[in-house]
């Protein structure tokens, strides 16, 4: 206390906040390195990283919610909505653009999630987790029953186009890889900006002490609702990107084990680093890939 009451020594002004300037350059560098490495890598590795980046986007949305102190166990729902939206657009409407499909998938997932956001923003802990899980399992049940959507088998879609051009057979996987890591880089950068913003800080504060946030004039429920919708967009985006590379969509996208994998990656990554989410997602994909090879039918 004596230190508190002593005259404050002249303290130099705080150093200027570290510019966010380094993040875009690091992200661009990571994208460039991956793009070059992907060009020379075997197809199985390119596909693995594509899946890791797309799935990482879903986990990134979960991390955004985790920063506010809630963990959703039902991101499979938005993952499936994004995937089905992209696949249906492709098959029913003939919209095949590799950049447009994921964006529409993400937007549709956010649109479907938005009405639930005000309700879910009232809940915390296990209640939030179970409600999101319930939503995803209801979606799973619907997708299983709807024969028009392929029922339990799902359905296939063809190869997307890019700027109106058909992707060459030999390079289709690589181009989709570029699209996926490009979108992951862009969304990752935006997530970093958001996490460091005033809204991002309010989310972080809400995790520790909601009452104080309210007494300081911030809205915890608004923050939670916005985070839920943003996480849905990320989930839908990831789902559509996965579907484009897999060429197939099925109800298992919304099954609880799929949601569990996304949560596992988010927990593995923690809530501080955006890059860690994609690293953790890659680790899971590597484990899954080798498990499938060496221990078939046990994953």
């Amino acid at each position: 206390m004596s230190a508190v009451l002593s005259p404050t020594p002249a303290t130099p002004a705080a150093a200027a906040p570290a510019a966010r300037g380094s993040s875009p350059w690091l992200a661009a560098l990571a994208f460039a390195v991956l793009a070059v490495a992907g060009f020379f890598s075997p197809k199985w590795l390119v596909f693995l990283v594509t899946m890791a980046a797309a799935n990482g986007l879903v986990s990134l949305g979960i991390v955004g919610l985790m920063r506010g102190g809630v963990v959703p166990f039902g991101q499979g729902m938005v993952f499936a909505i994004g995937g089905y939206t992209a696949a249906l657009l492709f098959n029913k409407l003939g919209f095949t653009d590799a950049l447009g499909l994921p964006l529409v998938g993400g937007a549709m997932a956010a649109l479907v999630a938005a009405p639930f956001a005000p309700l879910l923003s009232r809940y915390r802990g296990i209640f939030f987790a179970m409600l999101t899980l319930a939503l995803s399992m209801v979606t799973y049940g619907l997708l299983m029953k709807l024969e028009s959507l392929g029922g339990s088998d799902g359905f296939n879609l063809g190869r997307p186009t890019l700027f109106g051009s058909r992707l060459p057979d030999a390079r289709a996987g690589y181009i989709l890889f570029l699209v996926t890591i490009g979108m992951a880089t862009a969304v990752g950068l935006l997530a970093r900006v958001y996490f460091d913003s005033t809204r991002g800080l309010v989310t972080l504060a809400a995790r520790d002490n909601e009452l104080r946030v309210e007494y300081l004039g911030g809205s915890v429920r608004q923050a939670m609702a916005i985070n839920f919708v943003l996480a849905a967009f990320c989930g839908g985006l990831g789902g559509a990107l996965v579907v484009m590379s897999l060429g197939h969509v099925e109800p298992n996208f919304s099954f609880w084990t799929t949601s569990g994998e996304f949560v596992f990656v988010a927990i593995l990554a923690g809530w501080q680093s955006v890059a860690a989410v994609f690293v953790a997602s890659t680790v899971l994909e590597v484990v899954r890939s080798f498990s499938s090879s060496y221990f078939p039918n046990t994953w």
Binding site: V4, A13, L201, E214, G218
Partner: protein, 257 residues
């Protein structure tokens, strides 16, 4: 200042406010008007209804009856956030801080929450926010602790930070809940000097709950004494503290009877 004069100029008015918790009467028929710029101390024994009254003003509790009006706006049914937006801020008996963040980080949280245009892209650690945080920390002589984690701070420093955070919103009404509780006898006056000096730069009305009558006598311009949820005295400190009811039920100088 008589009651009539006070009501005319009051920025905060409570009309017949009552609150019960089961059979316990926490507030009964509270009528009070607080003029702009007053430094009002709320005194009373434990359970007298002081903090309940503060909690009703800030929206944490809703009165069972009566109305609370701030600058002509009925705030009785408003949520804490809405009341905060109208210019009411508070500190807590147990400081409500973010222990894992630094002192400066806590101030940035306060700044972010206060920001009317919460932005998705505006950095929380931008220059203007840092300067504002440092300015307030300097007023509370906390600048030297700026980079320390709150969990490492002593109790008095936390109290000051709690109040500094409340001031981020530049409120017109500030409520301090026992600002010197848990602070040692020799440190309470220097601490209150810092608080009052910091507040002196703002044209602010202050209500503070206090048990220490020396603090009350020195820093309050008016005293409102509570007992069993009712107001038993209201006036300048010298007068209010000298009433028989206050001496009997608050300070204990007279034996109950």
């Amino acid at each position: 200042m008589d009651e009539g004069e006070r009501d005319v100029t009051a920025m905060l008015q409570a009309h017949g406010v009552g609150k019960r918790f089961g059979a316990v009467v926490a507030a009964a028929d509270i009528d009070i008007g607080v003029a702009a710029g007053e430094r009002v101390s709320l005194i009373g024994s434990n359970g007298a209804g002081k903090t309940t009254f503060v909690n009703m003003i800030t929206g944490y509790l809703k009165p069972d009856e009566g109305r609370i009006v701030l600058d002509g706006c009925d705030i009785t049914a408003l949520a804490p956030r809405a009341i905060t937006r109208l210019g009411v801020a508070r500190s807590f008996q147990i400081p409500q801080l973010y222990g894992d963040l630094t002192v400066q980080g806590n101030m940035l949280v306060a700044n972010a929450c206060h920001d009317q245009q919460l932005s998705f892209w505006r950095p929380a650690r931008r220059r203007a926010a840092l300067d504002r945080a440092d300015g307030l920390l300097e007023r509370f002589r906390l600048l030297e602790h700026r980079e320390r984690r709150v969990a490492e701070l002593p109790g008095g420093t936390r109290k000051l930070l709690d109040i500094a955070m409340a001031l981020t919103a530049a409120p017109k009404l500030l409520l301090l809940d026992e600002p010197t509780s848990g602070v040692s006898a020799e440190e309470k006056f220097p601490m209150m000097d810092i608080v009052m000096s910091a507040l002196g730069q703002e044209a602010m009305t202050v209500l503070f709950v206090e048990h220490d009558m020396e603090i009350v006598a020195r820093y309050a311009s008016r005293v409102v004494a509570f007992y069993s949820g009712r107001i038993i005295a209201d006036g300048p400190p010298a007068e209010a503290l000298a009433t028989d009811d206050v001496r009997r039920y608050v300070t204990g100088e007279l034996v109950h009877g």
